[in-house]
């Protein structure tokens, strides 16, 4: 009970803070929205291949954008580092508040923003001709949430060890591009040579993209969906565990 109460108190505080700066909601959505607007039309003229069958371009491209927006939660630490520096996190750690509640309240706040962004993005895609089912959208949103939980935790872990925005920025930028390229979000990995496919197989986010695509294409019986959810859930659980561990052990300022 105390755990739920602690999480709720801190989530409300974090969410109020987020609402005070609604600009972030739109900054996060800019990049994927621009890709859908200015890049997706190019794919239609590439030609009719088995990887990109004509008429299914949006169902293949939009899920990739959704997942990569989830991956963008790698930048979540930029709001967290000032709170470490200003002693606010230390103040929380001295109270009897549950450590996991502190983490969960931060992750939940990040995920709420992500959920809003995802819904807006899907709405834009629908206006541009995306056709899919409600169940596919709902399941994809859940998958995006699991991805976002993972990447925000990774971001908090990096923040605790880096202690400075510069350190976080360089680490995250180094991670972000290979994750994006190895997820096959611009073009499906099925177009890639074998060696590239092998490397992509080590990227958990690749499985999330593949699963989201099957959902949007309506192939609900595909094992790819189960695999995507399973791999991402395990990855999220590990990230949460390590994040609460670094929060517990963080050398304070």
């Amino acid at each position: 009970m105390k755990f739920i109460q602690d999480t709720q108190i801190l989530f409300v505080r974090n969410f109020k803070k987020t609402l005070r700066e609604p600009l972030w909601l739109f900054i996060g959505i800019m990049q994927p929205a621009l890709y859908i607007l200015l890049y997706m039309p190019l794919l239609k003229n590439i030609g009719n291949t088995s990887a990109l069958p004509l008429g299914k371009i949006a169902q293949i491209f939009v899920p990739g954008m959704l997942i990569i927006m989830g991956v963008s939660s790698l930048f979540a630490g930029f709001g967290f580092i000032p709170e470490i520096r200003e002693g606010y996190i230390t103040r929380l750690l001295v109270t009897p508040v549950n450590r996991f509640a502190i983490l969960l309240a931060m992750v939940m706040d990040q995920l709420f923003t992500l959920l809003m962004q995802s819904v807006i993005l899907i709405f834009i895609a629908l206006l541009l001709g995306l056709r899919t089912s409600v169940i596919a959208v709902i399941l994809s949103l859940i998958l995006v949430i699991i991805v976002g939980a993972t990447t925000s935790c990774i971001s908090y872990i990096i923040s605790i060890s880096a202690r400075h925005e510069d350190g976080l920025a360089s680490t995250v930028n180094t991670l972000y591009l290979p994750i994006m390229l190895l997820s096959g979000i611009m073009l499906p990995i099925s177009l890639a040579p074998q060696w590239l496919k092998n490397i992509a197989g080590f990227n958990p986010f690749y499985y999330a993209v593949e699963a989201a695509r099957e959902l949007f294409l309506g192939n609900f019986t595909s094992f790819t969906i189960v695999k995507g959810f399973l791999i991402m859930s395990v990855f999220a659980a590990v990230a949460l565990w390590f994040a609460v561990r670094s929060l517990r052990k963080m050398a304070v300022m």
């Binding site: 105390k2 108190i9 505080r13 103040r91 001295v94 304070v252």
Partner: protein, 326 residues
């Protein structure tokens, strides 16, 4: 573990060693023994880098000690950190107020984090805003507060759950003299409520006039312990300096004072009589009365006290003032 009934904090051989990446051990705290009594203002005096903050962070459950024992509010630091957290308050050097909100909201949040319900939290927040005179700016965003205003809010955040002991890390660093004096007053009122105060400082005057009991720390070790007065008495050399009208009076005064038991040593320089005594404050009036009875004329009388810096100097061979860190 030995501790008397009025002990609120007790440590035995508390140590903290940090292991750096190049495998060099840094011994930040090298065996600290403390016995803090309930209701005291306990001062941890030492230069920057002496291990004060590290000790404080161990006692507030933020850092795990490398070895040693500690009891805080009757709970074992090793096995019951969660219990300790419920009973202590802590104000770090940087404070910890949430810069993005106002004092009212932040105080309510803090109270609720300690498990108080919303009604009680609101009531406590209001009481503390009145008490620490935050009313004028309580609904303004905290990032706009002055240093002194923010420190008062930090203190209010630290006591909102009525802790048994509050830890203050360098509470007045960076404050102007007026804000410092005011902050000292606030600390004394917290003491009057029965809360024990454990503070670190590198200011000699703060240690001297605010603290009831001191531990002087240097390079991770305690070099001296005692009340400020006792520490200075140990040094001895407190003196009453009497300036006389002329040589004749000076001679008469010297003869008179030599007969007094409380004068440990007497010393004449120019027209002044130096009387080395203990507890000179209490003796000033006696000296004046004795001189007056004999109709010996004097120009001025002053008391010269040994300072805590003399204590630090004697123990470490260095001066806190000249540390370059101050």
């Amino acid at each position: 573990m030995v501790s008397s009934h009025s002990t609120i904090l007790y440590t035995k051989n508390l140590r903290k060693t940090f292991f750096t990446k190049d495998k060099k051990d840094v011994q930040a705290v090298k065996g600290v023994d403390l016995d803090v009594k309930k209701g005291q203002i306990f001062g941890f005096l030492g230069p920057n880098g002496a291990g004060k903050t590290t000790t404080l962070q161990m006692l507030t459950t933020l850092l795990t000690p490398t070895s040693g024992e500690a009891m805080v509010v009757n709970f074992d630091l090793k096995t019951q950190p969660q219990k300790i957290r419920e009973h202590i308050g802590y104000v770090s050097q940087s404070g910890g107020a949430d810069r993005t909100t106002n004092a009212i909201q932040d105080l309510i949040l803090q109270a609720m984090l300690y498990g108080l319900n919303l009604d009680t939290a609101q009531k406590r927040a209001k009481d503390l805003i009145d008490r620490f005179e935050l009313t004028e700016f309580a609904d303004r965003i905290i990032s706009s507060y002055s240093g002194g205003q923010r420190r008062r809010l930090d203190l209010a955040l630290g006591v909102i759950h009525e802790p048994d002991i509050i830890f203050l890390d360098e509470p007045t660093t960076g404050l102007d003299p007026q804000s410092r004096a005011r902050f000292w007053e606030e600390i004394r009122t917290i003491k009057d409520d029965g809360t024990t105060i454990f503070l670190t400082t590198h200011y000699l005057d703060e240690a001297d006039s605010l603290c009831d009991y001191l531990a002087i720390v240097d390079h991770g070790k305690i070099v001296a312990k005692g009340t400020p007065t006792a520490l200075k008495h140990k040094i001895g050399g407190e003196s009453i300096i009497v300036a006389m009208k002329d040589d004749k009076e000076l001679e008469k005064g010297k003869n008179l004072m030599e007969k007094q038991k409380f004068v440990e040593k007497i010393f004449v320089r120019e027209n002044k009589l130096y009387l080395f005594v203990k507890e000179g404050e209490k003796l000033l009036a006696d000296v004046l009365r004795l001189l007056d009875n004999e109709k010996i004329g004097l120009l001025t009388i002053e008391l010269s006290k040994p300072s805590l810096d003399d204590v630090f100097l004697q123990e470490t061979g260095r001066s806190l003032r000249e540390g370059g860190e101050l």
